[in-house]
Symmetry: C2
Subunit: 491 residues, 2 copies
């Protein structure tokens, strides 16, 4: 083991950066702004993918794949979209290299300049709606409920692993509908899918809301989001679902013959979550000793560490370990055996603590003589001695308990770090000294939101869908406000 | 239904192109050289992915993700690699667009030129071995058994859907080992995984072999492959597994401390299969009426088409359909119900024939009164009347039978289209008039292979690992030959 992690209290951001690297989740790469997702980190993403993919399919969606490269001219077809997206992006201008005539290596072949440049997709609305034009003729072709798992790229040089990188992995849903109502319904259905996924699977409680005008997705009529709270009191947008109205259908001329046999523009939604969620997962639950992973997403839910050096002991312990592994597998539990002789048990304990394996089982010759094993849970660090007989079933229950405990802890944290501000002084004090979610009245203007941000660094995370709808007066201007909105400093 | 497909006999390549589009598998896109994989086609790829991924994991591999963009200088570090790959590729030269100062739209911002250009990965050996340098210190870190699911790009303008496109989807395995023997063993283990996958899951019999020197992967010591035969008598390379020796370890300076505490270069393999396999699947099994899909990869294994227009009939038929669906689902069978009133049954029959659904179940009021349903299998077009009671179990068996029949048919086809040529005349005649795999002696030189190709268009597909190892004389030069090799015209 290398030196300890910084503590969250002394340096939250240093703690996060170190933890991601030391727990073998990801690292920076030779490609500026892009990360390498290491096997342990990728395994977490795979669990998320599988779960989301199942949920999308249960709600009637299918997967497809659209091109990585988007013709440059497509980006300027939807007026807001270009302002929001096309500016910082990777541009492909040539299609050939050649040997350097003046020396070593290769150079770009000037004769291979493309007639029209391509950009690497920052998001795929444009190429997808250009394709939907061929797919949609009449109301019989609707709804189209399509998702894509893909890599996307937005040029970023100030990066943080998982949270902000130039290239990232995500899913992007793109649906087409007959009516506005149906498209809004889809937008909200997906917001519910994301909410269930975040709360049940990732144990991260979220607030559903709609973004203020100035925080909308470029090209959307309304952007809905789920907002989560991290342990440093900052908010993180964990997923967005956009009602796009007819904006992209108009930009790409996608019409359908209605049931009344009239040509109409199609209504659209798009929605996505990304590898950013791995960052959210880490920041929501982990502690100063390392990762804390909900069993649902943990690459290994249980690790078995056998003890004993004498050959006779080793044999007995190995047999007991093997038997346990079979029981775990039969129960659908992901188990890892670490019987590597090259590492000491103490090193292993620290390593699996750092990597957040929910349950550690130690099988030693002395315990075994009494028919017992030692079990430690990562979330509470509690240790217990269990009868070997029936231990696998008890550990299965324990995994459920850990999942619930991690969820409850995050819920309690959010409750403790959510406040109402009824005056500008109170608001400033809360944001500066307590952090967390602050509910406050706002007059609905971008101007006021910008001023509040300039003075406090807090932004409007969302106008919450549920909760107190009572009108009041803006904490900053005193102008009328329809309902309280949520402010926070944010990632 | 639109007009009929061309027949395979009159225009095999037109048949293939039409079938891919009309069966809703894929289409060309606005991005030159890139395709859109439509939901029905993507679903086939997903089944392949899931199966392969399970097989990789069972053999100890894990997934990770490396950057899409590769610094240009990396491509010239391995001498053979650059010649083979870097030339026709997408080059990213800028990172920003700006509004066109002279009019509409956007232009590339000349101020945002990158210091070093990036290329979009044509394959990832270079960026991965550059990363492995940090991951590997000692023999304890080996073997590294990593796979990546990714999109890659090789600039191609003469494209064919699935078979050759600029962007395609694939998996690429990249492993690192202590010894040459262990790396060769891994190379062959994966060749076996690919073989089992192709033969069992895709019903495509393949021949395992090694590529002649001039057909090797650029940077490999040996390239192993599996070669399949298509219905037009042309060969298709269905997967490759490369023993890379220490070439990339040397190019990227990746060493490990051995068990004897000495620094040594690491030994490597890489291996991949791609969405090209969807093309192989279509060409291996389908007929003039459309796709024939093995049940293992079919998006829907069974389609239920209910008949009857009278409300009372409809009700009875709907109830029976619902019951059948539940039974199919309980048996793990992927079933689709098509009760869409907007289409006639005849249209549906033709559609599912075109799309290759292995089993069609027709539930009609008249049959139902006698407790029967009509079942048609796609592969043989045979129709049968089954007792409703117990039908689901029988159909489960039928799906197995279909899988076997499709496999057997492909095996028989290959047997009928594999010949030995013992003279140059015989060889020319076979290649020109019969096609298929031709076993013949070859003197082992690239020069002879090139001359044979120039005269007949046939290439050496592989030096087969199994089979007749008897030496002889080259059919072209009469020089000594160690064993017969396989020639064919190829995709």
């Amino acid at each position: 083991m290398a030196e300890k992690l910084p503590t969250r209290a002394e340096n939250y951001s240093g703690w996060y950066n170190d933890l991601v690297v030391r727990a073998d989740l990801a690292q920076h790469s030779a490609t500026k702004g892009s990360m390498v997702i290491k096997p342990y980190g990728f395994s977490i993403w795979e669990k998320m993918q599988r779960q989301l993919d199942d949920m999308f399919k249960e709600t009637g969606h299918v997967n497809a794949y659209f091109p990585l490269l988007i013709p440059k001219s497509f980006m300027s077809k939807e007026a807001d979209h270009i302002d929001g997206f096309a500016m910082e992006c990777a541009v492909v201008t040539h299609h050939r290299l050649k040997k350097n005539p003046a020396g070593d290596g290769v150079v770009v072949d000037p004769d291979a300049r493309l007639e029209e440049e391509y950009i690497i997709r920052p998001t795929s609305e444009t190429i997808i709606w250009n394709t939907y034009r061929d797919w949609i003729q009449s109301y019989r072709d609707l709804p189209l409920l399509i998702n894509q798992w893909a890599n996307v790229m937005r040029w970023e040089l100030r990066t943080r692993l998982f949270l902000r990188t130039a290239e990232f992995l995500w899913q992007e849903g793109h649906t087409a509908h007959e009516t506005s109502e149906e498209a809004v319904e889809e937008t909200l259905k997906i917001l519910d899918v994301y909410t269930t996924f975040a709360e049940e699977f990732l144990c991260i409680p979220v607030i559903q809301g709609v973004k203020p005008e100035h925080e909308k997705f470029p090209g959307a009529v309304d952007t809905y989001c789920i907002e989560a709270l991290m342990q440093d009191g900052k908010a993180l947008q964990a997923g967005t679902s956009h009602f796009l109205g007819q904006n992209f259908a108009k930009a790409f001329d996608v019409t359908y013959l209605s049931r009344e046999n009239k040509p109409e523009h199609v209504w659209a939604t798009s929605w996505g979550v990304s590898t950013r969620l791995v960052g959210a997962l880490i920041m929501a639950h982990s502690d100063d000793q390392g990762l804390i992973l909900p069993p649902s997403v943990a690459p290994h839910q249980v690790v078995i560490v056998p003890l004993g050096n004498k050959p006779a002991d080793k044999e007995v312990v190995a047999a007991a370990s093997k038997e346990m592994i079979e029981k775990f597998k039969a129960l659908g539990i992901r188990v890892k055996l670490d019987d590597d002789d090259k590492r000491r048990p103490g090193w292993k304990f620290a390593q699996y603590e750092l990597q957040g394996v929910p349950v550690r089982v130690v099988i030693g010759p002395r315990d075994l003589k009494e028919g017992k094993i030692e079990v430690a849970r990562r979330d509470t660090k509690e240790k217990m001695s269990l009868e070997l007989e029936g231990a696998a079933d008890k550990i299965k229950d324990l995994l459920d308990e850990i999942q619930q405990n991690i969820r409850q802890k995050a819920l309690d944290f959010r409750a403790e770090n959510t406040h109402d501000a009824n005056s500008w002084e109170e608001f400033q004090d809360l944001i500066a000294n307590k952090g967390g979610f602050v509910y406050a009245h706002w007059d609905g203007t971008t101007e006021t939101a910008n001023k509040i941000k300039a003075e406090t660094k807090a932004t409007i995370r969302c106008i919450p869908l549920d909760g107190d709808k009572e009108p009041g007066q803006c904490i900053f201007t005193g102008n009328p406000s329809a309902q309280k909105v949520i402010f926070a400093k944010a990632y």
